[in-house]
Amino acid sequence: MFSSGYLLFLLAFGIGPMIYALYLSFTANGAFAGVDNFVRVFHDFRFLPAVQHVALFVVVWLVTLIVLVTILALVVHAVRTRWLSTTARFLFYIPGALAGSASVLLWLFILTPSVSPVAGLLDALGLKSFTQIVSLENLPVVFTIVAFWTGAGGWIIIMYGALNTISSDVMEAARIDGAGPFKTAWYIQIPLMRKWIAYMAIVSLAGGTQLFVEPKILNLASRGVVPQEYSLNQLAYTIAFGPQADYNGSAAISIVLLVVAMGLSAIFVFRGGLFDRD
C-alpha cells in the first residue's frame, strides 16, 4: 500500500503529538486534573500580556499584508513590459530565502543606527538607538516589517498566478466598457482574487499566532528590552524548559494555539472551496 509510510508519519508526527499534548494538558502526574493546567497558565502574569502582544502583531501584520500584497500583485500584473514584471517578482521573492533567524538577524543590523544602511532614514524618523527602536510599542511594526520582507514575495507571486487565471475576454470586455485600470481592479480583479486573499489571511493569521523566532532573536540582542516571554510560544517554551519544568502547563498553551490553528484550517477545508478537487 503506497500511502502506508506517510500514514505512519502522519500518526507519529501529526496526530500523535496533538493527542499526547491533549492528554498532558488535562492531567497532572498521570492523573486526570480537569482544567487545572489551563487555569494555572491563564493566571500566569505573563499570559495576558503575551496574548495582547500576539493579537496586536497579528492585526498590524494582516492589514499590512492584505493591502500591500493585493496592490503589488495588481501592479506587477498590470505591467506589460515582461522583463520588468519578471524581475520585480523575483526581487520581491528572493528575501524568502532568509526566512527564519537569518532574516531577523539581518534586520537587527538594519535597525541598529550605528551600522544601518538607512541610518539617515531612522534618524529622520526620530529613532536614535536600537533599544528605542525595539521598545515594546514598536515591536508589532518591527515584526510586521521583517515578516513582510521575507513572506510577501511568495504571496505576491501566488496572487499574480491567480490574476493570470482571469480570462482575457473578461478583461477585454471591461476595457471596452470604458473601465480604467482602477475600476477593473476594484470591480473585477479583486472580487476574483477574494478566495486567494482569504487563503492568505487564514494561513497568515494562523502563522502569526505562532510568533517565536523574531522575539526570541530580538530578546537575545536587546539585553532583555524585548521580554523573554513576549509571545505565547515563548511562554510555552519557558514554562516547559524554565525552572518550572511544567510540561502540563506548556501542553495547555500548545493546545490553545493548536485549537486556534485547527479552527482556522477547518474553516478553510470545509467552507473555502479551494480544495474542491475531490
Partner: protein
C-alpha cells in the same frame, strides 16, 4: 490621485495610461528598493571591518571593503570555537538532506495513492492531510517535543529528521499533480498488459512525476533548512545545532549586542553578517536556480507552512 485618474479615463485615455504607468513603476521601484537594500547590504558587509561598517564614519553602506578583509572575517568565523560553524552547516545539510530523501520516498507514493487508487478511509486521509497541512509547523513543535521526550528520542538527530520528514503539504502537491496530469486509462492499459501495482507506479507514474518531485523537494528543503523552533527545542547540545539555530549562538557572542561577553571569544558585526550570509547560502543558490519556475505562480499556495 485615484479619483483624478478615474475621471481622466473615459475622456483622455492617453494621459491616463501614461500616469498609470508612471505610478506603477514608482510603486515597483519603491518596493524593489525595500526588498533589495537589506540583501545588498548583507552581501557587502562581510568585506569590511567593524569601523568601516559603522554608518558614522563616512563610508557608504554600499561600498565594497576589500577581499583581504573578507578573508580575515572568514578566518575569524571559521576559527570561532574551533570551527563550530562547519559542524552547524554539516548538521543542517544532514538534517535537511536525509529528511528530503525520506520525504520524497513517502510523500510521492502517498499522493499517487490518494489520486489514482481507491482504498478504505481514503477521503478521511485526504481531509486530515489538508487540515494538518494548514497548521503552522511551529504549532506542532512543542507537542512533538513532548511526545518524543516521553519515548526518549530526544537530543538525537532522529528527533529532528523524522519530524522534518512529515510533510503533508508535499502529499497535497503530489495528489493535485497526479489527479490533474495522469490518466486512469494509461494506468489501466499497463495493468491489462500484466503489470502489477508496484510496477505501474515505478515504471509509469514515477517517470512522469519528475516536476512534482522537484517541487516537493524544493519546499521541503527550504522549509527545513530555515526551521528554527523544532531543532532549537529538540537538540540541546551546541554541536548538534543546525546553522540557523547556531546563528543565535553567534549573536550571543557578539559584544556589540551583548557587551558582557569575554572579549577573547567574540564575534564582530561583519563576521556576524558573514555568518548570516553563509547560513542562507545553500537556500539562496537553490532560489537562483529555481528562478524561472518560482516567478510564474505555479507554486500557488506553496510557500507558507
Amino acid at each position: 490621485m485615484t479619483a483624478t485618474n478615474l475621471r481622466l479615463v473615459p475622456s483622455a485615455p492617453a494621459p491616463a495610461r501614461w500616469l498609470g504607468r508612471v505610478l506603477a513603476i514608482a510603486v515597483i521601484a519603491f518596493f524593489a528598493i525595500f526588498f533589495v537594500i537589506p540583501l545588498a547590504w548583507l552581501l557587502l558587509a562581510p568585506t569590511k571591518n567593524g569601523n568601516q561598517l559603522g554608518s558614522l564614519h563616512g563610508e557608504s553602506p554600499f561600498s565594497f571593503g576589500s577581499f583581504d578583509q573578507l578573508a580575515h572575517n572568514w578566518h575569524q568565523l571559521i576559527t570561532f570555537q574551533d570551527g563550530i560553524i562547519w559542524t552547524w552547516l554539516g548538521n543542517s545539510v544532514f538534517y535537511s538532506g536525509v529528511a528530503l530523501v525520506i520525504t520524497i520516498l513517502i510523500t510521492i507514493p502517498a499522493g499517487y495513492a490518494l489520486a489514482m487508487t481507491k482504498f478504505r478511509l481514503r477521503r478521511a486521509l485526504l481531509i486530515t492531510t489538508l487540515m494538518v497541512m494548514l497548521i503552522p509547523n511551529t504549532a506542532l513543535a512543542l507537542p512533538i517535543f513532548l511526545e518524543l521526550s516521553a519515548v526518549h528520542v530526544f537530543g538525537s538527530p532522529l528527533g529532528v529528521i523524522l519530524p522534518f520528514s512529515f510533510f503533508p503539504f508535499g502529499v497535497y502537491l503530489a495528489y493535485i499533480y497526479f489527479s490533474t496530469t495522469m490518466s486512469h486509462d494509461l494506468l489501466d492499459a499497463a495493468r491489462i498488459d500484466g503489470a502489477g501495482e508496484l510496477k505501474v507506479f515505478t515504471r509509469i507514474a514515477m517517470p512522469l512525476a519528475t516536476p512534482v518531485i522537484a517541487l516537493v523537494g524544493f519546499f521541503s528543503f527550504v522549509g527545513n533548512w530555515n526551521n528554527y523552533f523544532l531543532p532549537f527545542i529538540m537538540e540541546p547540545g551546541a554541536d548538534q545545532l543546525p546553522v540557523q539555530v547556531g546563528l543565535a549562538v553567534l549573536l550571543s557572542s557578539t559584544p556589540a549586542f551583548n557587551p558582557t561577553n569575554a572579549a577573547a571569544l567574540t564575534i564582530t558585526l561583519p563576521e556576524l553578517a558573514l555568518a548570516t550570509l553563509v547560513s542562507v547560502a545553500p537556500v539562496l543558490i537553490v532560489f537562483l536556480f529555481s528562478q524561472r519556475f518560482l516567478v510564474t505562480g505555479l507554486t500557488a499556495g506553496a510557500t507558507k507552512g
